[in-house]
Amino acid sequence: MSAAMNLHIKNGRVIDPANGIDAVQDLFVVDGKVAALGKAPAGFAADTTLDATGLVVAPGLVDLSARLREPGYEYKATLKSEMQAAMQGGVTTLVCPPDTDPVLDEPGLVEMLKHRASKLNQAHVHPLGALTMGLKGEALTEMAELTEAGCIGFSQAEVPIEDTNVLLRALQYAKTFGYTVWVRPQDAHIGKGGIAHAGPLASRLGLSGVPVMSETIALHTLFELVRATGAKVHLCRMSSAAGLELVRAAKKEGLPVTCDVGVHHVHMTDADIGFFDSNARVTPPFRSQRDRDAICAGLQDGTIDAICSDHTPVDDDEKLLPFGEASPGATGLELLLALTLKWGGEQLPLAIAKVTSDAARVAGVPAGRLGVGAAADIVVFDPAARWVVEPSALASQGKHSPFLGYELAGQVKATIVAGRIAFQR
């Protein structure tokens, strides 16, 4: 954990999608910022040198959804454990949803969270404020105050708004100040209480289903409201082929919408529930192979802007239960890179863009790029190094993943935050 002033990252393959860079070269960091690429700046003397031969040097990852579980759920995870997980996963910027306890609906809570996170001096934490008080879908929060406290957008997390009029008002109000509203498209009633994709598998296993129309009905409503208000909406955790088709059309129409997908959904389908494996209990549920293929196609053609970890640490007491009683969610911060690379295959720059520059653009934060003068938030990883997903390999307090036991390629070797090596393996 050295506090290097001058850092020399030698001979790595520098991939910086925002600037169209993909070349083996040296990178020089001075005073926490990228000072030069290729040739050392005049008078540069390295305090620390990192040999990145055979490794990739990329912007630190930007994760659009990571639950840190503070305040309120410290038994599931703590800021300390999850920030360490972020470092091990190469995530230097993360957005956290407001579904803490109490929910992030007051400026004081947001300031406290930001303060505690900044004291750890690891990943940059950008909270989403609650869109409505207590996420109850009734009264708007003080969005301007919350923004001043550090919120970068407003969200209902997993709680749908039942009253469409409140959603309309929330979008109008957000539009007034130019704020982005983050929504996971889900109907408040259809699929309520559902635990698996409504389809043949759920029917066979006797699991109550969440139909695709839960997502598409919500999207139709949202797009009408966006047309009426002009508010910027970011659609979180898209899950279905039909939903993505609607997003594609909305973007073509010119609506100010972006969307992301959870990294597990890029790979898994409802068949991965197998014999009621509660590690595969997530929201939204893993859908059919056709939906999964549409997610991959949507990433490829840009319909889906970014991939996030949707990191949700759940402890044993809430996971080692019958499928329907188990808490939804999977650990993700430390799998985000490897699972994104698994999707990207040979298209390394495209894959990296989905978790760096594109994600930063969606969040509206200055991160995810390596140009001269940019903050030196950097991940150095070995795209070929293989590791096995097992509890002992994870720093997160959340040890549950549908990928437990899988061998993945792509391992973080060093994570650099503001020019300081915060993690090295």
Partner: protein, 321 residues
Amino acid sequence: MLNPQLNKNGELQHLLSIEGLPKSIVNHILDTASSFVGISDREVKKVPLMRGKSVFNLFFENSTRTRTTFEIASKRLSADVINLNIQASSASKGESLLDTIDNLSAMHADMFVVRHAQSGAPYLIAKHLIDTKQSHVHVVNAGDGRHAHPTQGLLDMYTIRHYKKDFTNLTVAIVGDILHSRVARSDIHALTTLGVPEVRAIGPHTLLPGGLEQMGVRVFTNMDEGLKGVDVIIMLRLQNERMSGALLPSAQEYFKSYGLTPERLALAKPDAIVMHPGPMNRGVEIDSAVADGAQAVILPQVTFGIAVRMAVMSILAGTQG
């Protein structure tokens, strides 16, 4: 993905679902059951096959009928039976399912008979027993959520075989609330496994789950059409809480469209049999004239149920982990 109910030799380790069971095992259970049917008529209604074994009836959901039949079956096999109504004990004190299992395992249980409101709960228990290397302990699913009720499915097959002999020329109709029915799911898997060429499901769209066709089922919403020429009718119980609301307007209207009356029964083959897993709602899904009529085999089902459960438990007890 390994089927957790079979051991590495392909023998029955747990009975969790009929889905994925080889036909040979299903037939072996039915054959074994037929050797037990006579025992109940003897003066001494016991065989010593499970002497010294402890069977724990773990009922996380209320049931009198199923629990009693398992208890009788265990006793006729000379096992010691311990009934636990978990709703009333540890679960309400906050003990987790797997903690309960560990505690009972420490009391040297040989078999757990599990009823749970959540689909898949017996799988969690079976997996835990494998993970904790307790492969000498067996699990019988006595009904999990909407998923499966394999011993009911097997006793239904026993009943059909008893009256119809051959499965490969039958048309079987399952009528009613398929959506919420674990019995329907187990019957469908059992019937298709045993080679029944036509399995029908009859009910209103609100009570039919999607994807039935992929399970090899022909779906009917008109009961008169669905009953035409069938050999076997399996009526399902309609739960009280589903009789009025968003799924159905009223019990009366349901009976009008889907109640089994003598007139409707006449649409089936003349020698068709009528089954029901019980308890029946007379006048809701079935007319008393049918329930008490010559074609009903509802009480023999109950009798066969004891023999089938004896067969399942004795086969499991004989499987080395």
